[in-house]
Symmetry: C2
Subunit: 209 residues, 2 copies
């Protein structure tokens, strides 16, 4: 019995299926879409895929993605050079920077400590972070603040605690992003841990005036 | 203010965003995944994309996707040559054929009649279907059965009704796939039209024995 699925189609479905969050059904739909989409659309995607691997490197300073040895953020002299925000992933830089609330520098760890997955501090860009912080300290201009913006997950919290210990005394202050009820969220549906964090993180309204 | 998003990354996010069902957040996630995935994974996807467009054609007989002028199903002499199943999309062929319940031939319309979207019968492979059916009739071996397996949507039903009119008298019988409660489904949550169809399509249990 001949399969009705021809080889190049099967191969594209297979390649799409390997992407995170793309199941076999979605992979099929994407494949059939590209079969009928304008030739240019399929080609643009293929070219972008190759280019992204060939042209994108990691910044030698902060390990964010970059098109040059030093990324646009690290090159930008107008940013606050004394504040450093530590995140897990390049996407986090994008999300935080888009808010405009933070105009300092970043450091991308490329993950979080997770003993279960065999990811210790040595698998992350932590040694590089400590060297960067140490170099600033040695220059007599230590970072005023390092914001630990790892995710509020078990792994992200463990990473933040680990970093806090290592950074303490070498920078002005180590802070952690607030955990609480998301804006637009509903107390009724918040989990217990989030509620506890929201209570612990409560601030006097006078502070906001 | 320099954007933290570099050009090749922005371009890949943009290319992914054009795919159906892929929003900007998903496009970002896929892009960052491919930045860190093994080089081979990104390259396999890029190659598969180009190959699928270069190597895949539509079967000259049934208009299913194919790697040759005649597709594997139309080439397969062991299949029932006197039964024809009409579907909207190549994916429908895949879904139906996988069941093993139908071992005849297919005809892919590449859509359904939808006056609102300006899709009339002339935009679909209907003329080719009528020629195919007419040729079999002229050969003195008309199709015994044409199964109309378009979707049970407004457009699919309109297409089935249109085809029924055009095919009537030129084939042994024209049938329509059953509409009803999906297996594992729940009557309580079924919509009214589906319930009506399920009742209209009821069959004597004696038929199944």
């Amino acid at each position: 019995m001949a399969s009705p699925l021809i080889e190049p189609v099967a191969r594209l479905i297979e390649a799409f299926s390997r992407l995170p969050g793309v199941g076999p059904k979605t992979a099929q739909r994407l494949t059939y879409h590209l079969l009928r989409a304008p030739e240019a659309e399929a080609r643009a995607l293929a070219t972008a895929l190759v280019d992204v691997r060939e042209q994108v490197v990691f910044c030698e300073t902060c390990f964010n993605i970059s098109d040059a040895p030093t990324c646009p953020i690290c090159r930008d002299g107008s940013r606050d050079q004394r504040r450093l925000c530590v995140v897990e992933e390049p996407l986090d830089v994008l999300a935080l920077d888009r808010t405009g609330e933070f105009r300092g520098l970043y450091h991308v760890l490329h993950g979080a400590i997770s003993p279960i997955d065999g990811i210790g501090p040595d698998r992350l860009r932590i040694a590089e972070l400590l060297r960067r912080v140490g170099a600033a300290e040695a220059d007599g201009r230590p970072f005023e603040e390092v914001i630990l913006a790892t995710n509020p997950t078990l792994e992200g919290e463990a990473t933040a605690m680990y970093l806090d210990e290592r950074l303490d005394g070498h920078v002005g202050s180590v802070t952690r992003i607030a955990r609480g009820i998301p804006v637009g969220g509903d107390l009724e549906y918040a989990d217990e841990v989030t509620l506890i964090r929201a209570l612990q993180g409560r601030r006097s309204l006078a502070e906001r005036r």
